[in-house]
């Protein structure tokens, strides 16, 4: 029905923003036009650098947690013995808001990048680990029997069975955990750093520069949007079958 959903929703959001600007006449909400002009001005200055710092932290955390989370998740999913020993511990730690460990991490790993990256890694890692393990456990023994009866070796079993089976839920887990980690990063970047989009926003706020603050908000929103769209792209390419199964549902 609506062809370009992103364009459509961006327009609606900007209209609402504009209405708020008109009717709530306080300085903390600058006009969209002013903000967007400011945004492009700042990009030429150092906004891009702030953004790059944040992206660097998130992507490094992402790579570490994907590597660790997927391999450990597959291992536990396939080895019931170890799973019974390790999973209770994981489930106990899973619901703890990892951000509360920030002070501890800062004492151990220093105030710099490392503690921030480890914090985000912890958030994404748990999500990936638990999802990977659960999707493997949902696999039917018929799937393994059927690929084994065709004489598949281990690499082929991963390629044709395990990886495709975990991918859809993995992407969902990524969506959720990346949203959380952007929020957490925003908070963590207020400590002991002068670079990062979180720092940029809070710094503009303290200096009562609202258009600049909103440019920062715009930048962090675009970052989130970009990551979500990338995940969508992967999903459309590799998980078409899931979309089809969704179409079979009653509420589409």
């Amino acid at each position: 029905m609506i062809k370009n959903k992103t364009l459509y929703s961006s327009i609606i959001v900007i209209i609402i923003w504009y209405l708020l600007y008109l009717f709530i006449d306080i300085k903390v909400i600058p006009s969209p036009i002013e903000t967007i002009t400011e945004f492009f001005e700042l990009l030429k200055a150092d906004l891009l650098k702030h953004l790059a710092y944040s992206i660097f932290r998130i992507f490094l955390a992402l790579i570490i947690s994907l590597t660790l989370g997927i391999s450990l998740g597959i291992f536990l999913g396939l080895n019931r013995k170890y799973d019974e020993i390790i999973s209770p511990i994981i489930y106990l730690l899973y619901p703890i808001p990892k951000i509360s460990f920030l002070p501890v991490l800062m004492v151990i790993f220093g105030l710099g990048n490392l503690s921030k990256i480890i914090l985000i890694t912890l958030i994404i890692l748990f999500q990936i680990l638990v999802t990977t393990k659960d999707s493997i456990k949902e696999l039917k023994k018929e799937h393994f029997y059927s690929i084994n009866s065709m004489g598949a070796n281990n690499i082929q079993i991963y390629k044709h069975l395990i990886i495709p089976a975990i991918l859809p839920k993995l992407l969902t887990a990524l969506r959720i955990s990346i949203a959380t980690s952007i929020a957490v990063l925003f908070f963590a970047e207020n400590f002991a750093t002068t670079y990062g989009i979180g720092y940029f926003i809070m710094d503009s706020w303290i200096r009562v520069n609202y258009p600049q603050m909103f440019s920062g908000i715009l930048a962090i929103s675009l970052l989130g949007l970009f990551i979500y769209k990338s995940i969508d792209l992967i999903e459309n390419k590799y998980c078409k079958w899931i979309t089809l199964e969704k179409n079979n549902r009653y509420f589409t």
């Binding site: 799937h143 029997y145 009866s149 089976a165 991918l167 089809l244 199964e245």
Partner: protein, 246 residues
């Protein structure tokens, strides 16, 4: 072709099947029938080399079955198709795993899909198929690797009566064309009689209660004959006997 001697299979401490002796010549068919939970699938998986004997031996063409055998095709209870692969990708999987070259894969798979009348489904996913269509795809996938032995686990149980009879007839045709040996597990008496030259009846305790030879096997119009129904009745009686005796 198949020679099973005194086979016993255990899951941990639980003995699922025992004292199984089974012989099947090349180009013969047998059906294995028995109440649900009696160990039919277990027996079939062991023939496929997926489950290892706890006691006894399984030989196919005079060599022991240790793991999967290249020329054995296995069709599972709920088809074992991968939901993330299209019909085409599912069907060529066996060839791909064997590193057959692309051109050959294309030719072989296309001809089999055409023969099974499912070529127009090639880009669909399993969730978009009906039961009968999925079943054909599962058969196609197995046939691409040109098996000489076909093991089937209740392949038609979820189909409606008409589709089932259709595919059963179709299976007989494939059997005749390809010199196959077929071993079929079922809990449907008519299916056992229609598709088995030998019928192994299992007791719920996991052993073979009786072996029946089926002289009418291969007759496509078997269902219309009186003998067919009397044979079905005999088997029904034997299956029931167990309930009262044990």
């Amino acid at each position: 072709m198949i020679n099973v001697d005194n086979l016993k299979i255990k899951y941990n401490d639980y003995t699922a099947i025992k004292d199984i002796n089974l012989k099947l010549n090349k180009n013969e068919t047998c059906s294995i029938i028995g109440p649900s939970g009696c160990g039919k699938s277990t027996l079939l998986y062991s023939l496929a080399g997926i489950l290892k004997p706890s006691e006894g031996t399984i030989k196919i063409n005079n060599s022991y079955v240790k793991s999967n055998r290249k020329k054995t095709g296995l069709i599972l209870q709920n088809y074992g198709l991968f939901p993330w692969k299209t019909v085409w990708e599912n069907v060529i999987l066996g060839l791909k795993l064997r590193k057959v070259n692309k051109k050959e894969i294309e030719i072989k798979a296309t001809s089999i899909l055409k023969k099974l009348n499912i070529i127009r489904l090639r880009d669909k996913y399993p969730s978009q198929l009906s039961g009968g269509q999925s079943q054909r795809v599962a058969i196609a996938r197995t046939l691409t690797t040109e098996p000489d032995l076909l093991l089937m686990d209740e392949p038609f149980s979820s189909l409606d009566a008409l589709t089932r009879e259709d595919i059963q007839r179709f299976l007989l045709e494939i059997y005749n064309e390809n010199n196959l040996t077929i071993c079929l597990v079922t809990h449907n008496i008519e299916e056992a009689v229609f598709l088995g030259r030998k019928i192994y009846i299992m007791s719920y305790k996991g052993s073979i209660k009786k072996i029946i030879k089926n002289p009418h096997f291969g007759d496509l119009s078997l269902r219309q004959r009186k003998d067919f129904h009397s044979m079905c009745n005999d088997i029904r009686m034997i299956l029931k006997e167990g309930d009262t005796n044990d």
